[in-house]
């Protein structure tokens, strides 16, 4: 009985310790001022692998989500004879919620897990410690470019996702189901506000990008350097990122659109 209580307490303490380590780790990464000349090519390389290579999955999912929204929205709205509002519904759903959130979930699965596995394997094969031996700071050389790349790539991916989704919704709603094109765009423009909807969506995706990249690189850097450790760190990255994104989304939505 006592043992159980003790282990319960220990897991609580472990949780606090790991949050503290994650915070200290973030401080260490951000306090190293990136060197503009040598750091920039490293950042570009990571932007390529994190951002450009994620583009395919983002565009395809955006297209299908937009098309599904068009189909579902049409079915529901046509019951009320207001299928002209479909553009407004698709645009607001995508720009405010689905764009940032689905992009972040896909990003955690596609790029976050890869970051964790890569850094974890570097740790397991002692590349990180040999860098330290050579006087190269692995936080600055390996971790910082990956963190910044995730932070920069996520908003760009989310904006592209929303745009493709709105186009996909038009494909279904206008081309296929015959909603008048003028009312599709007109209703959308009348109800979507640039500052309140588009910019708030971008702010959301910036926050998600930061959180996802942070969790991914921290899990890789902090993993147990064995094959089992890397696999559990990769799983944790996806699980924690998804939970953090969905939880933060609720908080951000309440602050941005809550009206209280």
């Amino acid at each position: 009985m006592i043992d159980k209580i003790a282990s319960f307490g220990r897991s609580g303490i472990d949780l606090v310790i790991s949050i503290g380590r994650a915070g200290r780790f973030l401080g260490g990464v951000l306090s190293g001022v990136p060197r503009p000349v040598t750091g920039f090519p490293l950042l570009l390389k990571q932007l390529y692998s994190v951002g450009v290579l994620s583009l395919a999955i983002i565009v395809v999912s955006g297209l299908f989500i937009g098309m599904v929204l068009g189909l579902q929205g049409y079915t529901i709205l046509s019951d009320f004879g207001s299928e002209a509002a479909i553009g407004q519904m698709i645009a607001l759903t995508l720009v405010r919620e689905l764009g940032p959130v689905v992009t972040a979930l896909l990003f955690a699965g596609r790029a976050g897990s890869a970051l964790t596995a890569e850094i974890g394997l570097m740790k397991a094969t002692e590349q990180l410690s040999s860098m330290e031996m050579m006087g190269v700071d692995p936080l600055r050389r390996v971790i910082a470019p990956r963190l910044w790349a995730g932070f920069i790539a996520m908003p760009v991916l989310a904006i592209i996702f929303s745009m493709v989704g709105i186009w996909g919704g038009m494909l279904v709603g206008v081309e296929w189901l015959g909603v008048f094109e003028g009312s599709y765009w007109g209703n959308m423009q009348a109800s979507v506000d640039f500052r309140d909807d588009v910019i708030n969506g971008v702010i959301k995706s910036v926050v998600f990008g930061f959180v996802c990249a942070w969790i991914a690189v921290y899990q890789g850097y902090d993993c147990v350097p064995t094959s089992a450790g890397i696999s559990s760190a990769t799983t944790k990255t996806v699980v924690y990122s998804s939970l953090a994104v969905l939880g933060l989304d609720f908080v951000l939505t309440a602050v941005m659109f809550g009206n209280f």
Binding site: P41, L44, K45, Y48, L55, V95, V156
Partner: protein, 149 residues
Amino acid sequence: MTQRTTDIAVGLFMLAGLAALLFLALQVSGLSPKSAKSTYTVYADFNDTGGITPRGRVSMAGVTVGSIDSITLNKETFQARVAMSIHGEVDNIPADSAAVIRTSGLLGEQYIDISIGGDMDSLKPGDTFYATQSAMNIERLISNFASGK
């Protein structure tokens, strides 16, 4: 993969993001460069504002000529004071015009319609509408009808 190809790919990626943001701004939210044009503020006192909200539409003959800024309660008269900004080029609204709250369609959103008066003078910035007509309240209409008043 040479450094050059990576650079080009990342450059195209960022440009695609910028183009998508531009698309969202211009095509989706209808943000136009001239939306920052000059406006002036006029006021109207209503007995009942119904469902109008800030950022709502102010129109004249069906054409949007401005938007609602704020809705506050006047504690002296217990009326709602609505501030609206009218586009600067519409500077000849007759001074005896009335502000009317209307509903677009049967269940649509409510907006303020300016019905034109005949005065030769026009409303100046800071002026208050001479006459207003409050939101039509269907429940009140029905209860008045039912009680025969």
